[in-house]
Point group: C2
Chain length 134, copies 2
């Protein structure tokens, strides 16, 4: 599946959520990549995965729920740590295999207690640890 047949719709035109979810280009495990971005600062916080059920739960509850590939279960971000992600907006990409979730992140998004997960930063031929835990 793919959203390709809808890509030429004009700005402001609408589809049903069910139509879009039925046309996502999921991988063989029913997953699509989801990018979490802090809604006001623009920081890219993390990349994780969602299936249809976690997308629907996120929209219904307003708290971001992923599918954990390592633990093979639903991952309600912050459920144990308190570092919740409150949903601000959700958008799917042109070919329906990625989601941009704008959120309000409480505290660190990363399990290392850093604000975001992208702290291995290339500098010339090295990679420098570019942030510290909060």
């Amino acid at each position: 599946m793919s959203l390709k047949e809808y890509e030429n719709l004009a700005k402001g035109e609408k589809l049903s959520l069910d139509t879009v979810l039925a046309n996502l280009k999921t991988d063989e495990h029913g997953l699509v990549a989801a990018i979490a971005q802090q809604h006001d600062t623009g920081e890219v916080l993390m990349l994780a995965y969602m299936n249809e059920k976690s997308i629907r739960e996120t929209l219904e509850t307003g708290h971001v729920c992923y599918w954990s590939r390592s633990r093979q279960t639903y991952w309600r971000k912050g459920e144990s740590s308190g570092h919740r992600q409150t949903l601000v907006s959700m958008s799917f990409d042109c070919d329906g295999d990625a989601i941009l979730v704008k959120v309000d992140q409480q505290g660190p998004a990363c399990h290392t207690n850093r604000r975001d997960c992208f702290f291995f930063t290339v500098e010339n031929n090295d990679v420098v640890i570019s942030s510290a835990p909060l």
Copy 2:
């Protein structure tokens, strides 16, 4: 592989690029997800995939090169369209399965000529086309 053994290094500590690339947690096709973000505005432009060779080429040339899963070939962004992505920075995430590439995007990032690919935006039970081609 994974970068887990390095996640507790302090801010400012260094690894070699070769070490990090050798420890990326690639999928069965040798790929990791790469998020392209406009470096100054923070816009998330697109999600694509890179293998080790495309990462190295991107760092060497300063122009972003992906691996196209649909075409099964290197995808030098903007090579035919002129809509190049000039590399500003590259960071890997905590578990080594995602890359954040900050870029300077010339024109539209999306093949639909929209600035970014995330234009299917949820509004209640609908999905609205949230941007127009440039």
